[in-house]
Amino acid sequence: MKKFINKPDDFLNESLSGFGKAHSDIIKVSLDPSFVSRKNKTKEGKVSLISGGGSGHEPMHGGFVGHGMLDAACPGFVFSAPAPDQMQAAAEHVDSGAGVLFIVKNYSGDIMNFQMGAEMYSGKNASIVTNDDVAVEDSTFTTGRRGVAATVLVEKIVGSLAENGGSLDECKTLGEKVNKNAGTMGVAFTSCTVPAAGKPTFDIGDDEMEFGVGIHGEPGRKREKIQPSKTIVGNILDAILDNLKPQKNEKTLLFVNGMGGTPLTELYLVYDDACQILQSKGVEVTRSLVGNYCTSLEMQGSSITILKCDEEILKNWDAPVHTAAMRWGM
C-alpha cells in the first residue's frame, strides 16, 4: 500500500491532529470522541450545523467547518459512519441554545448512528438527509439514493442562512430544498485503497470506467469502456437532467467535483465540456465550483452536480464563508 501512513490504526487521529495544527486559526480538533469544531463558540441564537460521515472524503466535512458553513464535523473511520457519541459530544460542544441541525448523507450506517446521536442529545435538534446521487434508481421500497457531492452545497447554503439568523425549521426547509434541487452522478477510472484494507476496493481494467460510481468505490450503473470526455460528460448530464428536469433557462450552479486522484486540468476540461453541453440544452450556468471537495481517497474520477438555483439559494451561496477548504467574501 502506497500511502503516507505510520500505523493504519493511527491514521485517522494523526491526520486529524495535523489538520488541527494546520488550521488552528479556524478550527480545533477534539479526539475521543473525535470531532472538528470552530475555533470560536457559536454565537447566541445561531442554529448549529453538524455534519459528519466516514473519513476518506476530505476536505468534506472537516474542511467545511467555520464561519458561514458548519459548526462541527464528526469524522468516522475511513468509509465508516461516525459513532453516536461523537455527534452527541459535538452537539453539546457547539449548541448555543438555538438548536442543532444534523446534515446526514443517506446511508444506513450514517442514518442509524446520527439517529442514535440525536436521541442521546438532550437539546433541540433536527436532521436533513441528502440523497442526490441520480445513479441510483430511486424506489419507495428501498433505502433510496446515496447522498454524495451535493451535501457540500447544502452545507454551504444552509450555513449561510444559519449565520444570518435562520431558525432551525427554516434551515431544515432550505436544506431540503437544496437537496431536492440537486442531482449528481460520478464516474471512476481507478479504485481507491482503504488504509485498513491495504489493497484496492475494486479491480478495473486498463480501458474501463465505472459509470455511476459511489463515493466509497461502490459499483455504479455499469462498467463501460472508457470514452472521450465529451461522451462521458454528456451521459452524466443526460442522467441528471432527466431527473431534475430544469425549466428552459433556469439558473443553475454547475459543480465539477474531483474524486481525489484526477488533476485539476482534467476537472476544468470536464467543466468546459459540461458548459458547452448545458448551453446547447438551454440550461443556464450562473455559478460554478470546480475542485476536489467530496473525494474518495485517491480514486481517479469526477462527479458532476447540477443545482437549480432560486434567489434564496443564490443569495446564500454567494454569502461569505471562511473554512479550511472553502473561502470567499471574507
Partner: protein, 209 residues
C-alpha cells in the same frame, strides 16, 4: 450467561472471524464499501480489551460497558446495530439473578427486536436480519417448547446457514447493497455472513460445553 462467558465467546468469535476475514472483506467490497470486516474485527478487539475492566462487574454493568464500547468504537451500520443489540441486552430485567439458557434466549430475542426497530429491516431485505430474525424466532420456539437445547442449537446453526445463503439471490432493499439494484444479486450479504459465523461459533461452543 456470565461476563466470563461473554469474553470467552468474543475470543472464540474473533478466531473464526479472522479465519474468514478475506471472504467477508470481499463480500462487502462486492456489494458494499469493503469495511465490514474491519468494523467487526475492531468491535471484537475492543470488547476483548475490556476484559480487565469488566471481569468483576455485575452483568448489567458489564453489558452496558460493552454496549457503549461497541457503539462508540465501531461506527458504520454494524456499530449502530450491534450497539443497539447490547444496549437492549443490558436493559433486560432481572439481570441480577442467574441468567439461564431461557433467560439468555429472551435477552437475544429482545436484542434482535431492538436491531430490527433501529434498522427497519425485515427478512428478505438482504441484511444480517435475514439471519438474525429467523434465529431469534427459533430461539423463542426452543424456549417456549422447552425443546432439547443441543438439538435446538443444531437447528439454529442450520437455519443461520440457510438464511445466510438465501441472501445471495435477493435484491437488497436496505443497506448499501440497496443502491445496486440487480447488480447486488449473486452476492451473499456480508453482514449476514458475519452474523451467521458468530451464531455458528456460539452455538457450537455451547453445544460442546
Amino acid at each position: 450467561m456470565s461476563v466470563n462467558f461473554l469474553i470467552s465467546q468474543a475470543k472464540n468469535i474473533q478466531k473464526v472471524i479472522d479465519e474468514n476475514a478475506p471472504e467477508i472483506e470481499t463480500l462487502d467490497q462486492n456489494i458494499g464499501d469493503g469495511d465490514h470486516i474491519f468494523n467487526i474485527q475492531r468491535g471484537l478487539k475492543l470488547v476483548i480489551e475490556l476484559e480487565g475492566t469488566i471481569k468483576d462487574l455485575p452483568l448489567p454493568k458489564a453489558l452496558n460497558t460493552i454496549a457503549m464500547k461497541v457503539l462508540s468504537g465501531i461506527g458504520g451500520s454494524s456499530g449502530a446495530l450491534f450497539g443497539t443489540f447490547f444496549i437492549s441486552m443490558a436493559k433486560s430485567p432481572d439481570l441480577d439473578k442467574d441468567v439461564d439458557f431461557n433467560k439468555a434466549c429472551e435477552m437475544i430475542i429482545g436484542g434482535v427486536k431492538a436491531m430490527k426497530e433501529r434498522g427497519k429491516a425485515d427478512v428478505g431485505e438482504k441484511t444480517m436480519m435475514d439471519v438474525l430474525i429467523p434465529v431469534s424466532e427459533k430461539l423463542n420456539e426452543i424456549k417456549n417448547n422447552n425443546s432439547d437445547m443441543k438439538q435446538g442449537l443444531n437447528e439454529v446453526i442450520k437455519i443461520a446457514e440457510d438464511r445466510m445463503l438465501s441472501t445471495k439471490d435477493m435484491l437488497a432493499t436496505k443497506g448499501r447493497a440497496s443502491f445496486l439494484g440487480e447488480r447486488a444479486k449473486g452476492h451473499i450479504d456480508p453482514g449476514a455472513r458475519s452474523s451467521q459465523l458468530i451464531i455458528d461459533t456460539i452455538c457450537k461452543s455451547v453445544i460442546n460445553q
